[in-house]
């Protein structure tokens, strides 16, 4: 995915390749967690009655962990296309907000290439990309994180399908906590760079409330929007709120 720059001077290419590799490296611990969940997904897909080709196709093109797990829960033949598409919309609506923050990362990229790159946005690699701040070759860094997690998810889905029920319960190894720990650690990284306690409180409070009242995937949306609203409303020019 590292398409050459408009004027491919060697130093520019080297710099973006270095950023790509940095993204790969920074994402490696997270890839282990994604790998574990991909194995579980593959095993469940086998139990749900999908073929191995269908499982691989789903992971390759839908590429959305939570939506794929929920789809297996709704699975029936013939597949309920509308219910599946509607659920995917609800679960993945948070990517509307997430993608809105990607303009800064992909700044300067030709529109078609930037839009294509959006396919590789997931919660995990987006979070890691954001904590990098305004680094040079930010887009190439993002692609490094994206490609690694994509390959991890796809290969683990297929492997998990083949291993089937042998795949252990991730809770036994504390792996269910890996994503919580990662999001927490990344939130601390962002919080250290830019202090906005009112935004954090609004986001956490709204997410908690939405979780209690509505549940599902709404807390991310409600919390994200509440935090952004507080940021928009606070007095201009003040950096501390």
């Amino acid at each position: 995915m590292l398409a050459p720059m408009p004027t491919p001077s060697p130093s520019l290419l080297t710099a973006s390749r270095a950023a790509f590799l940095a993204g790969l490296a920074r994402c490696a611990p997270v890839a282990l967690g994604v790998l574990a969940y991909g194995l579980v997904f593959g095993a469940l897909a086998e139990q749900a009655g999908l073929s191995i080709g269908e499982t691989a196709f789903m992971s390759a093109f839908v590429y959305s962990g939570s939506a794929q797990f929920v789809a297996l829960g709704l699975w029936a033949l013939p597949p309920p296309v509308l219910a599946l598409a509607g659920t995917t919309l609800l679960i993945n609506f948070r990517f509307f907000l997430i993608a809105a923050t990607m303009n800064r990362v992909l700044r300067g990229w030709p529109r078609p290439r930037a839009l294509l790159a959006l396919f590789w946005v997931s919660d995990e690699n987006w979070a890691i990309t954001m904590t990098e701040g305004d680094r040079p070759n930010w887009g190439a860094f993002f692609l490094g994180t994206g490609v690694l997690l994509y390959l991890a998810w796809l290969s683990a889905s297929i492997l998990g399908y083949m291993l089937g029920a042998v795949v252990a319960d991730p809770k036994r190894w504390g792996l269910d906590f890996a994503f919580t720990a990662m999001f927490l650690a990344l939130a601390v990284g962002l919080a250290r760079k830019r202090r906005a306690p009112l935004v954090w409180i609004a986001s956490a409070g709204a997410a908690l409330l939405a979780d209690r009242l509505i549940g599902g995937s709404t807390p991310v949306l409600v919390g994200g929007l509440a935090g952004a609203a507080v940021a928009a409303l606070r007095p201009r020019g003040s950096d501390a709120s």
Binding site: F95, I98, A114, A181, L184, R194, A207, G224, G227, A228
Partner: protein, 98 residues
């Protein structure tokens, strides 16, 4: 591969991708307004917090204590692997104890 299964997955894929493109294109426009730009700047932290709060709310004392350990570790260590590994190890131990 069964065609009706492929159709279902393609529908999911199309929805999932269209959301991102829509968000990106809207985000492009928001940059022109200072207040919306401020909102966009804080959006990553707000989304991250909103992702993690329900996960913790559904946990128990073992998860909460492990979360505190992760927070402290992440504050002092910049390398993601350390707080992550520490959190996973702590949660396994705490679940066994609590």
């Amino acid at each position: 591969m069964r065609p009706e299964v492929l159709l279902a997955f393609l529908a999911m894929a199309a929805v999932s991708y269209a959301i991102r493109v829509a968000g990106f294109l809207v985000g492009e426009r928001l940059h022109k307004h200072p207040r919306l730009q401020a909102a966009l700047d804080q959006l990553p932290a707000a989304i991250l917090i909103a992702l993690v709060v329900p996960l913790l709310a559904h946990g128990g004392p073992a998860e909460w204590l492990a979360a505190v350990i992760v927070l402290v570790a992440a504050w002092f260590v910049d390398l993601l692997l350390i707080p992550l590994a520490l959190g996973v190890v702590c949660v396994v131990l705490l679940r066994a104890v609590i």
